[in-house]
């Protein structure tokens, strides 16, 4: 029996090694509420520091550049990123692209780095519903701000179309947008995180050599990039839908 236990211990570690939850690190009280600094805060700070340092370096380097010169190595990379974002936005929004390229570029880079940060060993910030819901709520506010700004009272009367009886259905349709967008991003990244935690926590040691690399490519890189693209694409589609002149 003891021999059997030893063998099973060698082959498969117990489920106590599986860990993909958000952990509280530091507890504090604010307005009578118990609040926590969690691992999500730490990983979101790492992602933000990475991006801020990158952008400061870009800013410093680009300020010194002469526009008449032939661009060098680093400038080419930065221009590639900017051109990719500009191309993506203008392909989807047409004449409105200029107003929204900044915002779409910002959330694109942030969500992309957040999603693939599982590769660097930190828990992806987007695998926490507290990160994806605000992102989707920003989109929700932008949709309706632009709707009211562009259509004036038409933004409200469009809820009564085709007949006033449809008001509740139209309202549910509007509220479902941020919920479905945030849940889509959240559960995609969470499922990747859980899968990787199961692979690392439950499989025997000789399966963990080399094989997780392919899973990382699929769950972190591929799914992360697709979900980033889909989130930005849906944001643009919804906003552009409100800005079109019928």
């Amino acid at each position: 029996m003891a021999h059997m236990m030893a063998v099973s211990h060698l082959l498969a570690t117990s489920s106590e090694n599986v860990d993909f939850m958000v952990h509280g690190l530091l507890k504090y009280r604010l307005f009578g509420q118990d609040l926590w600094i969690t691992t999500t805060h730490v990983s979101i700070l790492i992602v933000m520091l990475l991006l801020i340092i990158f952008f400061i370096v870009v800013h410093r380097k680009m300020k010194k550049k002469d526009p008449n010169e032939v661009p060098g190595g680093f400038q080419n990379v930065v221009e590639l990123i900017v051109e990719m974002v500009d191309g993506l936005v203008s392909a989807n929004m047409g004449k409105n692209a200029k107003k929204f390229a900044n915002y779409i570029g910002t959330i694109f880079i942030f969500i992309l780095i957040s999603n693939i940060s599982g590769l660097f060993g930190i828990r992806p910030p987007t695998a926490d519903y507290g990160v994806t819901l605000p992102l989707a709520l920003i989109t929700f506010v932008m949709i309706h701000y632009n709707d009211i700004k562009h259509n004036r009272s038409g933004a409200f009367t469009s809820l009564l179309e085709p007949i006033p009886l449809f008001l509740p259905i139209n309202l549910i349709g509007e509220v479902a947008v941020p919920i479905s967008m945030s849940l889509r991003l959240f559960s995609n990244i969470l499922s990747g995180t859980v899968m990787m935690a199961l692979v690392y926590g439950l499989l025997p040691i000789f399966v963990k050599i080399g094989i997780p690399a392919f899973l990382h490519i699929y769950f972190d890189l591929f799914a992360g990039a697709i979900q980033t693209y889909v989130f930005c694409m849906l944001t643009m589609v919804y906003i552009n839908d409100k800005l079109s002149d019928e």
Binding site: R184, N188, L190, S191, V230, M233, L234
Partner: protein, 84 residues
């Protein structure tokens, strides 16, 4: 062996989680249909491959959402255990 109410709820939660991920059938069929239609479209018009691929990925990601809801329910039942 005594089975307490807590054990029973855990066991039923595990069964419920298994039932919830049956929701994955729908997105599987839907994504396959979208990929098949995209392959046919590329066959007819190979020049529009980029546009077709991006439209297909967007549609597939939207179709995936319902399956992910099922997955989310399974995760909630297994790890958050709201019923215990």
């Amino acid at each position: 062996m005594n089975i307490t109410g807590h054990d029973l709820i855990l066991a039923c939660s595990a069964i419920g989680a298994g039932l919830a991920v049956i929701a994955g059938i729908g997105p599987g069929v839907g994504q396959g249909y979208a990929a098949g239609a995209a392959a046919a479209a590329v066959g007819r018009n190979p020049g529009a491959k980029g546009d077709i691929t991006s439209t297909m990925l967007l549609g597939q990601a939207v179709a995936e959402t319902t399956g992910l809801y099922g997955l989310l329910i399974a995760f909630l039942l297994l790890f958050v255990q709201p019923l215990t």
